[in-house]
Symmetry: C3
Subunit: 312 residues, 3 copies
């Protein structure tokens, strides 16, 4: 593996999960591996968990993290090919990526979608430009269509908390006041498709994920039906994919409640809007795995960094 | 001591001062103590001294500091209990504090008051929420009502520069163009009340600090009278506490001048507005301790970090 | 050498270049030199290369870099002498520089010019205030009138890529949509004047650099003539110096093309606006040294830091 930009970069998710658990049991075991190596963390968008956990992961491996908020700290970056740069962008990604590659041994990038231009978002212009023009490995810290560090985290968390061989996992859409990306839902779906779980998706009509992501995963438009015998309910809002980036009217109440999920474990990538996405009673109960999930972000990132460092 | 959020967390200020002086004499003596431990510095507000000196203190102890400007870098944080989060805040402090606790071994927080809602400011919602919901020690880097790293710094500085057993220390209000918090004045008052000094406060009428802070410390409304035989004049502006957060009309000139303070040492926490709070002639003279004070910020922070690390 | 604020601080550019090449060949050889020392990087303006390469250089020397965006992270800084600070600035440079000196063993500062007030810009108020009021060495990371880390980088790059004893080097103005500083052009000119090269400048009428910088370096207003037999074409836009900070009308097309430069190597400090300053065909060809140049930023900064550390 050179880059880690998608759940598809995981060859064998079970062996990855096992290795992540070993790292978690002994996080400083590879403190020499990253010595004298820098990890550049480039943020085009806000971040709390990813920002901190990826730095922590790098430190656990002895790396030096260097953080940059691209928009605030540096120059507007141009991605177009052949552009006459007489507008607002001052530096082309061709230079930026090649240059940063000389200061950082690995580059991690966060770049959200526009949610207004489906084709452009799906082209993953920012992430793929780094892959193309950088000379060092690239890690996605969430791109337009995927959040593979989160998906790996979630796979680890489900493996740790499963009480049966083949648990039932439901990915449920939930309401939100803003238009949100599909990245987390996409990567979670891809991770579950690789695991030995019974996986279904629940979302209102009009909110189906891209067919290229959901493939033959069963989709329910009736939340109650989907939740039957669920062991894990993973919740996330996303805007419509079909009517791209829009909030559609939804008549039923999709907010997650204690009543609805019963004994199932509740998962969410955070940040989560309380009493909009899920009621307090769920988040504040023992059923909620959200804090444990966030903890695993460190070990997912550390596993990815370790694999890249070992490979280079 | 688990947390350090107030001068009241200091059991014995004299032994603390002695230990701070030892650290200052040999700042790298405990370089192994913080190895493989991270200090998260979360800023809800601007900072120069605190930002740099606390990082320096952490580095002196071998810790890895991780800095985050909460507002710019991450999500709007909700503090209300039971809130339906359909507004501008995207993440609840319950999750944020618990999550950050998993990436940082100690969390330091700066969060200024609104100065518009006394009750809310005094509830110390942000700081106390971190204490409540984080699972690791919390350090205040200035909260709504206190700045205990500054107060400790000031105690060290007075101890270092005193030329008599029981010096006279005056805390004097001074003019300013903006409405400022009471935090520095409060913590300084609390620190002086614990030390063997003759301590008085000078401020215009209407500018008395909270009675819960000043207790039976003498308050003068006549600056000249208060300054009589003073060894140290600690100056700071604060907005009215009684008429909460307001600038009141003051007829006398409270700006600190060389004439007024005579041979007394001048102290201020910085930043200071020259020729508004204090005239150049004072700041540029040998009487001014402000730079030495700022230097002690490192050792105050290092002492607090050391005590917390030793205790955990 | 105490400070590094200008190309004039280089006593012998050839021996500096040799030492930089040694550092580049073995960048971790002096990893102990900067141990337990902090480098404060203070940015009044945006930065990508300087921000990352200077941190990398510090890490290679075992230093701990501490980065601060002055405007966003801290307080508005006052530079005027005797000012009554009742406006927008909250902290005077006298305090700020003295205070930061106590937390950082070396301070690096970036502060761009106004381009509206020639006299003020040439006074280098910000940089020189740090030199005056700080008690530790100061490094310019680009000031109003110079960018000496870039100039040193460029000298190293020309030395590495020269194929004859005394190559011909042309500094060529190129078009831009914004008014840009003279700093890079100035420092490049000063560096070339110290090297054993045939150095000429090409710019439109009205765009001559300060006579104090160009001295007796030949200036051509005809780009084609200047480029004759050139081995290196260093390109950079700058606003008019005579009609200070203005964009003047230029009738000829000064954009750099493959046709114009022939076999000469192309250099630019980056960021560069493609197809405004230079056409894609040049940047994407083997003639372009821009990425190699950027790589040398690390070793130029590391050389300067090493010399300062050895001297203190």
């Amino acid at each position: 593996m050179k880059h880690y930009t998608s759940i598809n970069d995981i060859e064998n998710i079970n062996s990855w999960i096992d290795e992540a658990k070993e790292i978690k049991a002994n996080p400083l075991a590879n403190k020499e591996l990253g010595k004298n190596k820098t990890l550049g963390l480039l943020f085009f968008n806000s971040s709390l968990r990813t920002r901190l956990s990826t730095q922590k992961a790098a430190l656990n491996l002895g790396m030096d993290p260097i953080v940059m908020n691209v928009s605030g700290d540096a120059w507007g970056i141009e991605f177009g090919d052949g552009t006459v740069m007489n507008g607002n962008t001052a530096e082309h990604i061709k230079e930026a990526a090649a240059v940063v590659s000389q200061y950082c041994d690995i580059i991690a990038v966060r770049a959200f979608p526009s949610l207004t231009d489906k084709e452009k978002d799906e082209s993953e212009q920012i992430l793929n430009s780094f892959v193309e023009f950088a000379s060092v490995p690239i890690i996605s810290m969430e791109s337009a269509t995927g959040h593979p560090l989160q998906g790996l985290t979630d796979a680890i968390t489900i493996s740790e908390n499963a009480t049966k061989k083949k648990p039932k996992v439901v990915l449920s859409w939930a309401p939100h006041v803003k238009t949100l990306p599909h990245a987390v839902a996409n990567s979670f779906t891809q991770a579950m498709q690789k695991m030995d779980v019974e996986f279904v998706i629940a979302n209102p009509e009009g909110y189906n994920l891209s067919k290229e992501i959901s493939k033959d995963t069963p989709i329910y438009h009736n939340q109650e039906e989907a939740f039957k015998d669920a062991d894990f309910v993973y919740t996330k809002n996303w805007s419509s994919y079909e009517t791209y980036g829009q909030l559609l009217e939804v008549n039923e109440n999709w907010t997650i409640t204690k009543d609805k999920i019963g004994d199932a474990k509740f998962m969410h990538c955070l940040p989560v809007r309380r009493n909009v996405v899920v009621e307090d009673a769920v988040l504040d109960s023992d059923s909620s795995l959200v804090i444990k999930q966030a903890n695993n972000r460190t070990y997912a990132a550390q596993l990815v960094l370790k694999k890249i460092l070992e490979n280079n």
